[in-house]
């Protein structure tokens, strides 16, 4: 072990929460007082709701401190380092004692995220120290054939983690079977699902895992070139990838004759340019080729005719991050986790109305209830759970009645949702499901490439119908018309973006039809979200006539005499809610 280590989590969320300042503070302290610990950087460990995170590892054990701003940083350095007295109240996780956070950590199985938060991602030596590049070395030294490598991946049962769920081994096999003078491996790091940041965390925290996996994939199918297509909105991930690629090249893990095997492989980074549709594989390929990211009809499939018309494999970041471990530990190890059809683990990004926001990696088959109420810590502020959205704008809402569904590709589809890439957004009683559907559709309409009629025009008309409904102008016939249009778009759109665009609408219609009916028949938004359907009322019994609300009202909509109940003129009211915030007597409510 040696020296005491102080490790600061510097993933994007950490930095956004102020970890950069925390790091500088600790660094300054160390220099000023000549302290003898090792100051290191790491990435996101997944416990985003407790950022900034600082881990202290000394000869007694490991102590992960949470919510450490500059002030607390001084405190823990002073007490833990200076006085050898750990500050237990700030500890969120330790190997010595349990904390409330154990509920978040204990049921997780970290394969994809195994190195995140444990290593400095900008130092290849730390990756190597934790079995890094061992899988590649094994293939080279044990002379494992490319066919055998593919067989291992097939036997493991791993399926695409980007949302498609296609058996990875089969994809590799198709590409390997093609004879071509040039083949490509592409890592799809264009994580565009709003609410998903699993891939970002892997790229920021453990970039070498992705590189190693790509080399293995290249060897398996006979490709010598790879691209990582990463969103430009992830500057830290891009920086870490560039550093990792440089280091890998220097160490001979990329380039010519890797491990003396005679196999060459090179990786280039391509930045996305702000188009969610480029997460779709044919759009991604055409984007690399320098075109508008418009998807193409399949067949031909990329494994047969992909980038520059050559056989190409496109794999998601999370899928790839599993590969080295599968090679090292064997396919049986991997397939021992999960369900019959969905093997291994899945990383979810928990967000929305949930206490423990962050990244969790759990075995397939874990129930939604466990993820949300045990690991996720339940709904904050005592509110009632309403629905959980998986699959982002391509997915569906899962209501309370399906909370015991095990997470698995097929079972999620069966209830009208999908696995998606891992975004898991929680909604409570204060969310309006019609507004949620409208929000997702607005995203899809903006990101639609515009090539095919059903998506370009169909989703836009769907959005207009939803807007009408949230403004109180919809009718019951509109609901039927909407549903009909949804089914049409699902069946006729050219690519998965269009085909899945109606999912949020269909699933909310299925499970929350009553909310839609309230909007069109009663012209009321039960959750009180849709501005045009909400109105504020003063309860004359409670109103003391203090006139505060009338004075604060920006529209001059409240009238009344002093010490007499006041009244809101609904025609002037702009629904800003200031009056309700102002009233000290709880006399104003939103209906």
């Amino acid at each position: 072990m040696g020296k005491t280590q102080v490790i600061v989590g510097l993933g994007s969320c950490g930095i956004a929460a102020g970890a950069g300042k925390t790091y500088e503070k600790i660094k300054a302290l160390k220099e000023a007082e000549n302290l003898t610990f090792e100051l290191k950087k790491t990435s996101c460990v997944g416990m985003c709701y407790r950022e900034p995170l600082v881990e202290i590892i000394d000869e007694t054990g490991t102590y992960l401190y949470g919510e450490i701003d500059e002030i607390r940083a001084v405190e823990i350095i002073d007490k833990h380092i200076g006085q050898q007295s750990p500050v237990k109240e700030y500890v969120v996780s330790s190997d010595l004692f349990s904390t409330p956070e154990n509920e978040f950590l204990d049921d997780q199985v970290k394969i994809v995220l195994r190195n995140c938060g444990r290593i400095d991602p900008e130092r290849i030596e730390e990756y190597e120290a934790r079995q890094g590049y061992d899988a590649l070395r094994k293939i080279a030294t044990e002379n494992i054939s490319s066919t055998d490598v593919i067989q291992k991946i097939l036997d493991s049962g791993i399926r695409g983690r980007g949302g498609g769920g296609f058996p990875t081994g089969m994809k590799w096999k198709f590409a390997a079977n093609n004879v071509a003078d040039e083949k490509y491996i592409i890592c799809n790091a264009d994580e565009g699902d709003p609410g998903a940041f699993m891939d970002r965390s892997v790229l920021e925290g453990d970039p070498h895992a992705v590189l190693e996996a790509m080399v293995i994939a290249g060897y398996a199918i006979g490709a010598t070139h790879g691209y990582i297509y990463v969103r430009a909105e992830y500057p830290i991930a891009v920086k870490r990838l560039r550093i990792a690629i440089d280091q890998a090249r220097k160490y001979g893990l990329l380039g010519k004759n890797i491990f003396g095997s005679g196999f060459d492989f090179n990786i280039d980074i391509r930045l996305g340019a702000g188009a969610f549709v480029c997460g779709e594989e044919t759009a991604l390929l055409t984007s690399i080729e320098g075109n508008r990211g418009e998807p193409k009809n399949k067949p031909p499939f990329p494994a047969n005719k992909g980038l520059f018309a050559q056989p190409t494999i496109i794999n998601n970041v999370e899928t790839l991050a599993n590969i080295p471990q599968i090679i090292l530990k064997g396919p049986e190890w991997f397939s021992s986790m999960g369900t019959e059809t969905s093997k291994g683990t899945k990383v979810f990004a928990l967000g929305g109305k949930i206490n423990n926001t962050g990244l969790v990696e759990i075995p397939m088959g874990t129930t939604l209830r466990k993820i949300l109420f045990e690991i996720g810590g339940g709904i904050p502020n005592g509110k009632k759970f309403k629905a959980a959205q998986t699959g982002g704008p391509s997915g569906g809402c899962i209501p309370a009645q399906h909370l015991d569904t095990p997470i698995d590709y097929e079972s999620l589809k069966a209830i009208g949702s999908m696995m998606g890439s891992g975004g898991l957004i929680v909604m409570d009683e204060d969310n309006c499901m019609v507004d949620v559907a409208r929000f997702f559709l607005e995203f899809t309409v903006d990101e639609s490439c515009g090539k095919c009629t059903p998506c370009r025009i169909g989703t836009r008309r769907l959005l207009e119908m939803l807007n009408k409904i949230t403004e109180g102008k919809g009718t019951l016939e509109d609901l039927d018309k909407m549903e009909e249009l949804c089914h049409y778009i699902q069946k006729n759109a050219l690519c998965a973006l269009g085909q899945t665009a109606p999912n949020p609408v269909l699933s909310t219609l299925k499970y929350f039809r009553d909310e839609y009916v309230a909007h069109v028949v009663d012209k009321r938004c039960p959750a009180g979200v849709c501005k045009k359907l909400v109105h504020y009322e003063i309860d004359p019994e409670k109103c003391k006539g203090c006139t505060m609300c009338a004075r604060k009202c920006p529209a001059g909509a409240i009238s009344g005499n002093v010490k007499e109940p006041h009244v809101i003129d609904q025609n002037k009211c702009i629904k800003c809610g200031t009056c309700m915030e102002t009233c000290k007597f709880g006399a104003i409510s939103k209906k």
């Binding site: 067949p299 515009g450 059903p454 836009r460 006729n492 050219l494």
Partner: protein, 580 residues
């Protein structure tokens, strides 16, 4: 190519293994509707009209791009598919300014036809956007109105790939996608070559030619004007289509009769001027070969090609023949030779050409195209515009009796007629040049090697000991290939014919519209060219230099081909143009 067996709606057909479902269905007599697909031009499966059920394909298959497999079973006519097509049309119509009554494509529009076939409710998905006209008419030959565009992208495909001009593209994304130029510049400010292929392939009224019939009606009604009309070789092979006649019907006689009835004072034939062009250009070729002039000599009758050369291959401007195009030569001669003969003031002569071409609208306004101090040609109309004039005048085209052109500039040889086909100019020139060089009559006037629809046609002929290498191509994508080979020294020719439009003028930008389901299965260029070659084969007069009226022109007026007077009247100059 192996054949496979496919079942379409229960009907078994045998098709080549690489056929698409659309092609197999055609074999079975089943028409699957399409809007964006155009063979060899646009195959992007974007409109979703052609979706069908096919065994072995998950979900639905886009018939236009999906290849058949042996034993495939296809259903094209289920209730669900019909309902889906109806919705696709309704969605397209919801974003389409419905101007059918006054639109030039009323009755001739692919969207309108399908809407009728599927019994759509055009207002079902009416949206929130305000569909006002979005006219863009900065270019001399066309008007674009994006409020009618259904984003089939055929125009973009033909401009970018087949014509290599790439001045239009798709801009923005999603619902805001629209066809436009770089920086959304007006078309007139780009390096558009006016070939009009985009208009020819547009399924709706989003792209139309500029309507120039107004000035023509006015001129005809003006007693002071002597109005001359002259149709191009291709027009007689196309015009019948506008009146329901089969593709490739030669309607020369009816066309002349209709033109007379419209009230033109004289009906001449541009084919006559084509013969003159051969005299001038043939002489030019022989001169360059003899005196070591710039070779290869490149033909100059296609104004779209000329403009393309001026933009993109300026270093080859010196290779271009200095001859005006037949249209311009006819106008020039009308206002000089004919005017003098009849004692008319060129200012009172109004020359109208009827062309299968839209670039001709640009050509009449070019510099150095005014032999008599006034423009050689006043107005150029497309075949389509002529058809509209005939209909508006109440002339029942199909019942007209054949008439003949006015002879002084109305008699042409077969060589003049075949100008409209790709390879036609080359063949016409070879007939004259080889006879002059060899000094004896040709045994066989047909130079079949330069005929046909291949991309680039090459041939070598022995002319009295000199091996003369020639090539002919059409479509600017092919022209670029050929020119690059010439520029790099890989190929070496004496004489090259280049036509901007793929398949030659018979497939020009001004042609009658044919819907996708015809274009995808009929080779329009080949069928229309047949009419021209057939007329030529039946004639006795098949060589330009034997045309008695051409001989008379030279004997009494121009002296000889390439004379000073001929150069003043019948030759022109070119300019280098900056791309954008």
């Amino acid at each position: 190519m192996d054949k496979v067996t496919v079942k379409i709606n229960g009907i078994e057909v045998k098709v080549p293994a690489n056929a698409t479902i659309l092609e197999a269905a055609h074999e079975a007599g089943v028409r699957i509707p399409t809007l964006c697909y155009l063979k060899d031009i646009n195959a992007i499966a974007a409109c979703r009209m052609c979706l069908v059920q096919a065994s072995g394909v998950r979900g639905q298959a886009a018939a236009c791009v999906t290849q058949v497999a042996d034993g495939m079973v296809v259903e094209t006519n289920t209730p669900e598919l019909r309902e889906a097509r109806k919705k696709t049309l309704e969605l397209l119509l919801s974003n389409h300014r419905m101007d059918c009554l006054s639109c030039t494509r009323n009755g001739d529009c692919e969207l309108q036809a399908l809407a009728r076939e599927y019994g759509v409710d055009q207002y079902k998905y009416k949206g929130s956007e305000d569909l006002k006209p979005q006219y863009e008419h900065s270019a001399p030959h066309l008007i674009r109105d994006n409020s009618k565009c259904i984003l089939c992208r055929r125009c973009v495909a033909v401009c970018q790939h087949n014509q290599h001009a790439a001045v239009i593209g798709t801009n923005e994304r999603g619902f805001d996608t629209h066809v436009g130029c770089a920086f959304d510049l007006p078309l007139g400010e780009t390096s558009c070559i006016n070939c009009g292929q985009c208009i020819a392939v547009c399924p709706t009224g989003a792209l139309t030619e500029r309507d120039d019939t107004g000035p023509v009606w006015d001129a005809i009604a003006d007693p002071k004007k002597h109005v001359i009309v002259a149709p191009a070789p291709s027009v007689r092979a196309q015009l019948g289509e506008c009146f329901g006649m089969p593709i490739g019907t030669n309607v020369e006689g009816k066309m002349v009769a209709a033109l007379r009835r419209l009230g033109f004072d004289k009906v001449f034939d541009v084919d006559f001027a084509a013969d003159v062009t051969i005299m001038e250009e043939g002489t030019e070729l022989l001169e360059r070969i003899k005196n070591g002039g710039k070779l290869p000599l490149l033909t100059s009758c296609s104004p779209g090609w000329i403009k393309f050369c001026e933009y993109y291959y300026p270093e080859m401007i010196g290779n271009l023949s200095s001859c005006k195009s037949p249209q311009q030569m006819l106008g020039a001669l009308a206002k000089t030779y004919y005017a003098e003969k009849e004692g008319l003031d060129p200012k009172d002569i109004f020359v109208v050409s009827i062309m299968p071409c839209t670039a001709k609208k640009f050509e009449c306004a070019r510099d150095d195209e005014s032999a008599a101090g006034v423009p050689d040609v006043d107005v150029s109309l497309t075949t389509r515009e002529l058809a509209s004039m005939i209909k508006r005048a109440g002339i029942v085209f199909t019942e007209l009796k054949d008439e003949k052109f006015d002879p002084i500039m109305g008699v042409a040889s077969g060589a003049g007629h075949i100008f409209g086909a790709t390879g036609g100019v080359m063949e016409a020139a070879l007939r004259t040049v080889s006879e002059i060089v060899n000094g004896k009559p040709l045994e066989n006037v047909e130079f079949k090697a330069v005929r046909g629809v291949e991309a680039i046609k090459e041939a070598e002929y022995d002319l009295n000991g000199t091996k003369v290498r020639v090539a002919a191509t059409s479509g600017l994508e092919n022209a670029c290939k050929l020119l690059d080979m010439i520029r790099s020294g890989e190929k070496d020719y004496h004489f090259v014919e280049i036509m901007a439009c793929p398949g030659g003028c018979v497939n020009g930008g001004g042609q009658p519209h044919q819907p996708g389901y015809v274009r995808n299965f009929v080779d329009l260029s080949a069928e229309r060219a047949k009419a021209l070659y057939s007329e030529d084969s039946k004639m006795k007069l098949r060589k330009s230099h034997e045309n008695p009226f051409v001989k008379k022109l030279y004997e009494t007026y121009l002296e000889k081909p390439g004379s000073h007077k001929a150069h003043e009247i019948l030759h022109t100059t070119y300019v280098k143009r900056k791309v954008y």
